[in-house]
Each structure stands twice: as structure tokens, then as C-alpha cells.
């Protein structure tokens, strides 16, 4: 088990190193000099030169990469070209919106998908199954930001149950914050829940075809007992894979949804940074999101091992 986790952890670190190089190189090839961009057209050459030195832009690319990564490891994301404030502070503020939103959506989607998927699988071919399959087919086809617009139209503008956008901040209280994130989380979660329930259903049905289910039935277990005691845990393996992938979709989706609801999250930060050519912010936010995705992949791998003893004992 420990060996398996170590192996996964090593591949996590490797992925991060290569990803950081990729991101750095991509941003490196951007034409134009941030210093002269920041100071405008009329700046004096020596002022620009001073700023370049201040930002560390005069060093070699390798040195700059190393100092960037070294900073990242210590939580120092550099200084924003536009606001001249530490990027880490800006990101931390925004993360307090984006991360809860993604988790909220993941929780909702899982809470919906599990019972729905199990229900459809246990009653294969029934009216319940057909309606689940039909609804989820539609759910997958709906773009989440459009669904968000509809939610705003119905629940914020017509019914006035929620505000149409904005975020009061966690200072306003946990429930106020949660309420502001509810519509965005629902918009994010429903399409994902559709995918997840379908995966849950088909994975369970596949597992129910396995020989060991027949063995269990020969022992005297009813169809339902065989499903709960034997099929469910085995069916979790593909479901975990999709769950891991969904987190990265949710993070990315959150960037778009934040725009619908005017939420001060990472997404809005990154779009502002692009228009202001504040590349160090773009670089840091992308790196952070990649870190989150890779970390989730790692956690999913660990979860596999908890579900499946064959992986646990693997060399």
C-alpha cells in the first residue's frame, strides 16, 4: 500500500515539474515586454530598465524559472505586474470563492448521481429507469452557463429567492456565502450529475453480469442483496475515475460560471489578467489549477487502492 502511494506521489511530482516547465515556456514566448507595457508608451528607457530589474526580468530564462518555481514551493507567487501586490494574496482571496464552489458542486452532483444511478440500475427497463435515462441524456446536452442563465431568470429575477449575482464574502456569514454560491453550484452540478448517474448505472449493470454475482445468488442472496453486498463496491472503480475527471471539469467550469454570477473567483481574476497582460497572474493561476487537477488524480489513485485489494498489495 505504502509503496503504491509513494509511486503515485512520485508521478504526481514529475507531472507538476513538467507542467510548470510547459506553462513557463508558453508564457515566455509571449511577444512584448511586461515592463514597458506596464509603464506605458512614454516611459523613459532607464525607468523601464529599473522596473525590469525589480521584476527580475533581466535574468536568464532558466534563472527566472528556478526562482519562480522556488517561490511557488514557498507560497510566493511573485508580484502582480498590474497591481504591484503579491499574487499569492490575490489568488488566496479568489480561491476562497472558487474552491468552495467546485466542492459544493461536486457534493451536489455526487449526492444526486449515486441514488439515481443505483435506482436506475436496480430497476433496469422500468419507467423509473427510462425517465432517468431520458433526463440525464438531456442534462448532458445542456451547457452549464446557459442553465445558469435560466436559473438566474427563474430564481433570481422572477421568484427573487436568490440574488442574481455577486458574493457577500464569508465575513457576511457562512450561510450568506453558501446562499450566494447555491445557484452557481446547481448550474455546475446538474450536467455533471447526469454524466455521473449514467456511469454509475452502467458500471453497476456491468458488474451485475459478473460471475461472482451468480455465485452470490447461488448462495441464496436475492438480486438486491447481491447488488448491495457485491456489485456496488466493484462498480465504484469506473465511477471514481469519472469523479476525478469531473473535479477538473468543475474547476474549469467554475471559471465560466463565475462570469455568469459576477463572482470574485479565480476565473474572473484570470480573465482580467489576460486583458491587462498581467502574465505572472495568468501563469500562477494556471499552475494552481493544474496542481489541483493532478492532486485529485493522485487522490483518486489512492481511493482505487482502498476499494481494490489487488492494487493495495501490488508491488
Amino acid at each position: 500500500m505504502l509503496r503504491y502511494i509513494l509511486k503515485r506521489a512520485l508521478s504526481l511530482v514529475l507531472s507538476l515539474v513538467v507542467a510548470s516547465i510547459l506553462i513557463f515556456v508558453t508564457i515566455e514566448i509571449v511577444p512584448g515586454d511586461p515592463a514597458s507595457y506596464m509603464l506605458g508608451l512614454n516611459a523613459q528607457p532607464d525607468t523601464i530598465e529599473n522596473l525590469r530589474r525589480e521584476l527580475g526580468l533581466d535574468k536568464t530564462p532558466v534563472a527566472r524559472y528556478l526562482s519562480w518555481v522556488g517561490g511557488l514551493v514557498q507560497g510566493d507567487f511573485g508580484t502582480s505586474y498590474t497591481y504591484r501586490t503579491p499574487v499569492a494574496d490575490m489568488v488566496a482571496d479568489r480561491l476562497m470563492v472558487s474552491l468552495p464552489l467546485a466542492l459544493y458542486a461536486l457534493l451536489l452532483s455526487t449526492a444526486i448521481a449515486f441514488p439515481v444511478g443505483v435506482l436506475a440500475a436496480t430497476r433496469r427497463g422500468s419507467v423509473a429507469d427510462w425517465s432517468v435515462m431520458g433526463t440525464t441524456q438531456l442534462g448532458i446536452a445542456i451547457p452549464n452557463f446557459w442553465f445558469a442563465l435560466l436559473l438566474v431568470l427563474v430564481f433570481a429575477i422572477n421568484l427573487r429567492w436568490f440574488s442574481a449575482g455577486g458574493f457577500p464574502g464569508w465575513e457576511a456569514g457562512f450561510f450568506a456565502g453558501l446562499k450566494a454560491l447555491t445557484l452557481p453550484a446547481v448550474a455546475l452540478a446538474l450536467p455533471q450529475a447526469s454524466i455521473l448517474s449514467r456511469v454509475m448505472r452502467s458500471s453497476l449493470l456491468d458488474t451485475l453480469d459478473e460471475d461472482y454475482i451468480r455465485t452470490a445468488r447461488a448462495k441464496g442472496l436475492s438480486r438486491r442483496q447481491a447488488l448491495w453486498r457485491h456489485a456496488l463496491r466493484n462498480a465504484m472503480i469506473p465511477v471514481l475515475t469519472i469523479l476525478g475527471l469531473q473535479f477538473s471539469f468543475l474547476l474549469a467550469g467554475a471559471i465560466i460560471i463565475e462570469n455568469v454570477f459576477f463572482l470574485p473567483g479565480l476565473g474572473r481574476l484570470v480573465f482580467q489578467a489576460i486583458t491587462q497582460r498581467d502574465l505572472i497572474v495568468v501563469e500562477s493561476v494556471v499552475m494552481l489549477l493544474v496542481f489541483a487537477v493532478v492532486l485529485i488524480t493522485f487522490l483518486v489513485d489512492v481511493a482505487y487502492a482502498l476499494v481494490d485489494p489487488r492494487l493495495r498489495q501490488q508491488a
Binding site: 461472482y212 451468480r214 447461488a218 441464496g220 442472496l221 481494490d308 489487488r310 498489495q313 508491488a315
Partner: protein, 537 residues
């Protein structure tokens, strides 16, 4: 409730009468009737499609969707046909236990063996978890999985196929059922393991005075174990009675046919044995790399073939026997020049075989292969003429157009198919016909050596007999030599001149076939031959 020792004076434990089964309107069983008594073994024998497994599933009513079942299944006086699902659940596992063919997939991979055996006990109620685990422990001991090596918390993947089958048996007998149904319980196992599992079953029947229904395709298996015999074909019982009586009189023509096919010896009078060596294997070593145990540790290797040397002469039919995992398939791949070897030399007519593309096509074309699985051996998207012509890739001036068609027609006819079969797709053929096409593909470039890798193992006995006859006749007409690889000793005995015995990567014995079978020298060969179930003469 756990039924312990009740009295067993009822006449028939199970009485099946006029059982009819159809699945999606297709008739599967037709008026099947038989009895089984306590402490008695009933063998049900038939080829694929005979309905023998479906008979077993019908008793427990574990049938696929769309099945309709009628007739009478009386278990200790209780009528099971028409019983409710919950009544059937009470019967399954408690009064009737069942064992399946595939031990590798019959156990839940994420639960311990203890949990799975104990489940049989506590699912039928009345006992605590702890008591159930205690019963599981005792039952595992009874089937020959002692606590020292096989603790309750072991997982299925840590056990071999034979050990897993013992766990399945333990699950089935944990509550001492009155009837045990075993559906091809040893088909997926090696011959020595098969003998052990059959011995366990036989012992349990005696100890618990159970009735046992043993379903198999292998007449020899039941001949040694069963008291009564039912012979099935196309969903009908063609004959039943006491084992000795049925096998001695062979009253029904199908019984006789099955009996003869099981021990079939093809006519091999005209073999032109020479002493010119065709294939020489000298000190062959083949290592596989194992996954690393430590991240930065050195690679570890598994030696699948260990210093193997032998010769195959022109015109000879050489057998290679061994149990699964002994390295015989690895050896085949090395000889065919598919894998790089780590030591030794393989030569054909003096030329060295290697796995690189430097290996001359003219050398490759001297050998061809026929595999076990008649379904996986062909690309389903190609027609027979393209499939059979594939080895012409090895020939420089390969025939084309009409000349090619003529060659393919000729080779198809030589394996007993029609020239017109060339334009069909492979799914239009039965398993036996596909194996003929595989032989045609091997023959088409007139190789000197054909490697038959378990080539008849997946076939029903009567089809197997026909293919063995075909192989025997081709030797003379095509000037062939065979390397015949099989786990089935009786087949090897019937078709080879000399035999090699392989165990754990090494050749432990070799010699003329009859001599090895009559006077085996190595203890392993002796145990193999002793384990083979024999048909009475």
C-alpha cells in the same frame, strides 16, 4: 435455519420430471427427467449445446431473462417450480449448493475468502457474524485450506485456480446442503488439480451424505466418480442408468459415438519417420521482466523457460505436455521467432531463428502455427480467402489472381471444406470448421513444421476426433512435422511419436510416447499420468 444432520431415508433427494425450458422462444430443454439419491453422484455428460448446464441452472432457477420453465423439480418433497423468489433464496445455498466452472471469476475480488464463505451461513439467518466466521473456518479446513496458510482474511487474487475452486466449494457446502450441483468444476483446472478437486467432492458426498450432480463434457471424469449417468444431446436425455451399465452396453448410438470419440486414436500407420533433425532447440532460456518491487531497485526476472534442449525430426510428431504456467506457450513463441530469447540457440534446418526482422522470410515460411481459440484466431473483418492467404506475405513470388484462388480452393478442400467457402466471413463457421480454416492457413505455404498450440483443446470430443484424423492424414500428403502442445495427455498420446514433459520451465522427461506413458520415470510424469481420468475399456 441451519439444518444439521437430519435423517436421510427419503428415497430420492431430487426428482426432476418432464422439465422443459425455452429462452426467448428457443427450446433449450425438452422433457428432462432424472432422480438423484442422497450419498449418490449423478454425472450429466454432453457436448456444448446439449443443455447440461441449463439443467443445473433450472434446478436453482438462476436463469437468464426471457426464460420459461415448466415441469417438476421436487427437492425432498418440496416442489420448486412455481416457488416464490424468496422461497428459492431460502433453498439456494442452504438446501442446494452450487459450484461453477470458472474459479478465477467466481469470487468477488474485493472481499476476503472468509467473508464470502461466512456469507452463506449468515445470509440464511439465525447466527451471529462471529459464529458464521467460525463455520467458514471449519468449512475451509474441510476442503483442504488449513488456517496456517489460508487465513480468513486472504483475498481471492492471492490464491491459485485450484485453491479458489476449493473456496467456491466451501461456500457451497458451508451449510451442509442436501444437494450439491457442480457445473464443470474441473474443466478450467490442470489435470493434477482436477484429480484433487474430484477427490474432495467425493469425500464430501460420503461425509455429509449429500446428493451430487456432476456436470461435465468429459466422459472419463464421471466414469471414475459417478454412480449414475445421464447423457444429454440437444436438450434431450438420450440415455441414463448406472455408470458401469451405460458404459459397458453403450446401448444408444450417441453414447457409443461419444465414448469412441473420447478415446479416439487417429490412424497413423503411414508416418515416415526420419532421423534428419528439422528443429533443434539447444539450452533455450527465456526470462520475463517482473514489475519492480522497489522504486529504484534492480529489475527482477522470472525464468519462464529454463535451459530447454530437444530435437524434432522431419516427419515426426512431437508432443509437449505440461500444466498451465509451465512455460509451454512461451517456448512456442520463442520457436516461432516472436520473442527475443535470453540464451541458447534455436535452429531450423541449421538456420538460426531470432525475433528480429533480420530473420529471413524463407526461414519463417518453414513453420506455421494453429492456436487454441477457434474464435480469436481470425480477424473478423476479413473473408476466408484473405485470411488463408495471409502467410503468402512470406513468399516472394506469391501467386495472385486466379492462381491464388486455385491454391486457396485446393487447400480448403484438403482440410475438408468447400472451395466456395473462400468468399465467406469467419462468423459463418462453427468452431470445428474454423479450426480447419486455421489448419488451411498454416498449410497454404507448405511449411515443414506446424506448431499446434492446444489446437484441439477447445473442441467438443466428436469434433476433436475429426480434427485429429485430419491432422494425421495431412502428415502423409503434405510431408509435415508437428510440434503438438497440449495439457491433455490422452490427446498427446494418441497423435505423437515422442513426447516431452515440461514442468516449471524445465524439461523433466522425454522419450517415445508409449514408453513414457507406460513407464514414466520422473515422479512428476508419474503423478501427471496417474491423475488422468481413464475410461473403462
Amino acid at each position: 435455519m441451519i439444518t444439521t444432520n437430519s435423517n436421510h431415508h427419503t428415497d430420492a433427494q431430487l426428482r426432476v420430471n418432464g422439465l422443459n425450458l425455452s429462452i426467448h422462444e428457443t427450446p433449450i430443454l425438452n422433457s428432462v427427467s432424472f432422480d438423484v439419491r442422497a450419498g449418490e453422484v449423478l454425472g450429466i455428460v454432453g457436448e456444448s449445446g446439449s443443455g447440461k448446464s441449463m439443467t443445473a441452472y433450472s434446478i436453482l432457477q438462476l436463469l437468464p431473462d426471457g426464460s420459461s420453465l415448466s415441469g417438476s423439480v421436487e427437492l425432498e418433497g418440496q416442489q420448486l417450480i412455481g416457488a416464490s423468489e424468496s422461497e428459492l433464496c431460502d433453498v439456494r445455498g442452504d438446501v442446494v449448493g452450487m459450484i461453477f466452472q470458472e474459479p478465477m471469476t467466481a469470487l468477488n475480488p474485493v472481499q476476503t475468502i472468509g467473508q464470502q464463505v461466512a456469507e452463506t451461513v449468515y445470509i440464511h439467518g439465525g447466527v451471529s457474524r462471529r459464529a458464521a466466521l467460525k463455520v467458514a473456518r471449519e468449512t475451509l479446513n474441510r476442503v483442504g485450506l488449513p488456517e496456517a496458510e489460508f487465513a480468513l482474511d486472504r483475498y481471492p487474487h492471492e490464491l491459485s485456480g485450484g485453491q479458489r475452486q476449493r473456496v467456491v466449494i466451501a461456500m457451497a457446502i458451508a451449510l451442509k446442503p442436501r444437494l450439491l450441483i457442480a457445473d464443470e468444476p474441473t474443466t478450467a483446472l490442470d489435470v493434477t488439480t482436477q484429480a484433487q478437486i474430484l477427490a474432495v467432492l467425493k469425500r464430501l458426498v460420503l461425509e455429509d451424505r449429500m446428493a451430487l450432480i456432476l456436470i461435465t463434457h468429459d466422459l472419463a471424469v464421471v466414469a471414475n466418480v459417478a454412480d449414475h449417468l445421464v447423457i444429454m444431446r440437444h436438450g434431450n436425455i438420450v440415455e441414463q442408468g448406472g455408470v458401469q451399465e451405460v458404459l459397458a452396453t453403450k446401448a444408444h448410438p450417441y453414447t457409443r459415438q461419444l465414448f469412441e470419440a473420447s478415446g479416439h486414436k487417429p490412424d497413423r500407420e503411414g508416418t515416415s519417420l526420419t532421423d534428419k533433425p528439422l528443429l533443434k532447440v539447444d539450452g533455450l532460456i527465456r526470462d520475463y521482466r517482473l514489475p519492480r518491487t522497489r522504486l529504484f531497485g534492480p529489475s527482477r526476472y522470472f525464468r519462464a523457460v529454463d535451459d530447454v534442449s530437444f530435437q524434432l525430426h522431419r516427419g515426426e510428431s512431437l508432443g509437449l505436455v505440461g500444466e498451465s504456467g509451465c512455460g509451454k506457450s512461451t517456448l512456442t513463441r520463442a520457436i516461432l521467432g516472436l520473442d527475443t530469447i535470453q540464451g541458447g540457440v534455436i535452429t531450423i534446418d541449421g538456420e538460426t531463428v531470432n525475433a528480429h526482422h533480420t530473420m529471413a522470410l524463407s526461414l519463417r515460411r518453414k513453420m506455421q502455427v494453429v492456436f487454441q481459440d477457434p474464435y480469436g484466431s481470425f480477424n473478423p473483418r476479413h473473408k476466408v480467402n484473405r485470411l488463408v492467404a495471409e502467410p503468402f506475405h512470406l513468399v516472394k513470388d506469391a501467386p495472385t489472381g486466379n492462381a491464388l484462388r486455385a491454391v486457396i480452393a485446393e487447400v480448403l478442400e484438403s482440410v475438408g471444406l468447400a472451395a466456395s467457402d473462400a468468399d465467406k466471413y469467419i462468423h459463418e463457421f462453427s468452431g470445428g470448421q474454423r479450426q480447419r480454416i486455421a489448419i488451411a492457413r498454416a498449410l497454404v505455404i507448405k511449411p515443414a513444421l506446424i506448431i499446434l498450440d492446444e489446437a484441439v483443446s477447445a473442441l467438443d470430443v466428436s469434433i476433436r476426433a475429426q480434427i485429429l484424423d485430419l491432422l494425421a492424414s495431412l502428415v502423409d500428403t503434405h510431408d509435415l512435422s508437428y510440434l503438438f502442445i497440449s495439457h491433455d495427455l490422452s490427446v498427446v498420446r494418441s497423435i505423437t511419436d515422442r513426447v516431452l514433459v515440461m514442468k516449471a520451465g524445465k524439461l523433466v522427461e522425454q522419450g517415445p510416447t508409449e514408453q513414457v506413458f507406460l513407464h514414466p520415470e520422473h515422479p512428476y510424469t508419474q503423478s501427471l499420468i496417474a491423475a488422468v481420468p481413464q475410461l473403462p475399456d
